[in-house]
């Protein structure tokens, strides 16, 4: 007998099993931020003591919000805009706002993966010589004055093109054969590669000093509000929540799936990988600090791009079997980045498919080709680094964070849908959701994220981000943050095709279990 679920799976695509869904969700959550952001944030905010606010944030914001996203996608069986439209017609713009954010993230995230891809090969002969920062900015990216140029850098263009071809191929194959199979293969590879990297890093001289710096608790840090804000920010950005990814992925999972139990696995896998990354990164930093006679803090300074493209090349140049360490490290960045990029672009493809009833290949082309062209035009030029840095900051701070807070408030207080979502989860979920979850999602998480948002905004007023010129911050930064909201509203005004029902798919009792 053909069920409603079979029809849905044929039409929209679906993951073949819970395992594939969990691996795809882990692939989305585990990204560049786990490897280069978490270790630095933890070190800067109390070291070992950071574990306490981090765990509190995981339990009171990360996992509850993740389950809200899962609930929306799993119950309403659609991309972010379709799920919101089915929740309440007037909330559809939230879904399109998230789609706009994902589109912009995809175009610049691909560039960072392209850098890592190139550095995987640079690691073999240590192409950066004895000046990794100068090589990265001057020779590799050829970044000059802060301006927007059309001077193409072939060394970035080619790997970026390769990344987009790979992504479009994956997306074209569909939910299971493309996204699912990629996750099924790449996530175990990522874990194995990273474990080998950590083992190698731990054998380096000075690794114990690095771990000491990473784990030594500074208990006084717990009294600082900024440390708690950093913990909530880290959990929030790391878990891929609040901007449509988990809604979209949850819509591809069978009705009978234990979504709360799956959410726990995804949440702890993401945090577990962050811990592994912290151990590997700080063991390596301990080596370079000892070799060069500098403090660990100095070796780790910069975080993010600085850690990956300045500090690690230095480590690779000086460590025994450094080339292997480099291939493992940058290879991990490529894999982690690719599985996250796939999830980000899927939010857009899924939304376009639902709205215009397009085929998989059609939607992939309509979304992927413009995204690839914009990505290549803006991020393979000598101004790519600056545009990327500004866009990343503003889309994270005033895109993802704002839409997350707004959507949480709308779902909790505007539409009052949390009880319904909890009941939906409780049918098949191993972890039962009740008043505590509703209280956390209605009050604690929005308050915590609003605090992170306001704190960041006040810092912004105090000091312009990155000392960039105001015209760049206004056009690329604030411009992008406002543009995605305008896009969200306009896209929600476009009519759905007659064949798309905006009613919640009703299944028989047999089908729901």
């Amino acid at each position: 007998m053909t069920t409603q679920e079979d029809v849905e799976a044929t039409k929209r695509g679906a993951f073949s099993s819970r395992k594939v869904f969990i691996l795809a969700a882990i692939g989305s959550a585990v990204g560049l931020g786990n490897i280069w952001r978490f270790p630095y944030v933890a070190y800067e905010n109390g070291g070992g003591a950071f574990l306490i606010p981090y765990l509190v944030a995981l339990l009171t914001a990360g996992l509850p919000f993740l389950l809200m996203d899962y609930g929306l996608g799993h119950k309403y069986r659609g991309s972010a805009p379709l799920s919101f439209a089915r929740l309440r017609r007037g909330t559809e713009f939230l879904g399109w706002w998230q789609v706009g954010i994902c589109f912009l993230i995809a175009v610049y995230y691909a560039a960072v993966i392209a850098w890592a891809l190139r550095y995987t090969f640079f690691s073999v002969d240590k192409a950066w010589g004895d000046d990794p920062p100068g090589f990265f900015i001057g020779e590799f990216l050829q970044a000059g004055d802060v301006e927007i140029t059309s001077d193409v850098v072939a060394g970035v263009l080619v790997p970026l093109l390769i990344v987009w071809v790979a992504v479009l191929l994956i997306m074209g194959f569909g939910v299971q054969k493309g996204i699912g199979t990629t996750a099924l293969f790449l996530i175990p590879v990522l874990v194995i590669v990273f474990v080998v990297l950590v083992i190698q890093a731990l054998t380096l001289d000075g690794s114990a000093a690095g771990l000491d710096a990473f784990f030594s608790p500074n208990w006084d840090a717990l009294t600082e509000p900024g440390v708690w804000a950093a913990a909530y920010g880290q959990i929030f950005f790391s878990l891929s929540i609040g901007f449509g990814i988990m809604i979209t992925y949850a819509s591809y999972v069978g009705r009978k799936t234990d979504m709360t139990g799956s959410g726990m696995v995804v949440g702890f896998a993401n945090s577990g990988f962050e811990l592994l990354a912290g151990i590997g990164v700080f063991a390596a930093l301990g080596f370079i600090a000892q070799a060069n006679g500098v403090a660990i803090g100095e070796a780790a300074s910069g975080g993010g791009v600085g850690l990956a493209f300045f500090a690690f090349p230095t480590i690779i140049s000086e460590a025994p079997a450094g080339a292997l360490l480099g291939v493992l490290f940058f290879g991990s960045l490529v894999i982690a980045g690719l599985t996250s990029l796939v999830s980000v672009i899927e939010v857009v493809i899924s939304a376009v498919r639902d709205k215009f009833e397009l085929s998989r290949i059609g939607a992939t082309m309509w979304v992927g080709i413009p995204a690839a062209v914009i990505s290549l035009v803006f991020f393979s030029t000598t101004s790519g680094l600056y545009v990327l840095d500004v866009l990343d900051h503003f889309i994270n701070q005033y895109g993802i964070l704002v839409v997350a807070v707004v959507s949480m408030l709308v779902v909790a207080w505007g539409v009052r849908a949390l009880r319904t979502l909890a009941e939906h989860h409780n049918v098949n979920g191993s972890l039962k959701l009740g008043r505590t979850w509703i209280a956390i999602v209605s009050v604690i998480t929005p308050v915590a994220l609003t605090y992170v948002l306001v704190r960041g905004f006040l810092d912004e007023i105090d000091t312009a981000y990155g000392d960039y010129p105001q015209w760049l911050l206004n056009s690329v930064g604030w411009g992008a943050a406002v543009a995605v909201i305008v896009f969200g509203v306009l896209a929600s005004l476009v009519r759905w095709r007659p064949e798309t029902s905006l009613e919640e798919p009703i299944l028989t009792t047999e089908e729901t279990r």
Binding site: L55, F215, P217, F268, L275
Partner: protein, 42 residues
């Protein structure tokens, strides 16, 4: 490594990696409700 750092490292491993193991075991042991249970709820 200092004793404090070692303790915090072990605690972090136990909570995060242990939490993952528990979550996986819990997920695998969970049986979906029977039709009777659903009808009783209704």
């Amino acid at each position: 490594m200092s004793a404090d750092a070692v303790i915090m490292m072990i605690v972090a491993m136990l909570i995060l990696w242990g939490g993952l193991v528990v979550a996986i075991i819990r997920l695998n042991r969970h049986e979906p409700p029977t039709l009777d249970e659903i009808h009783r709820d209704l």
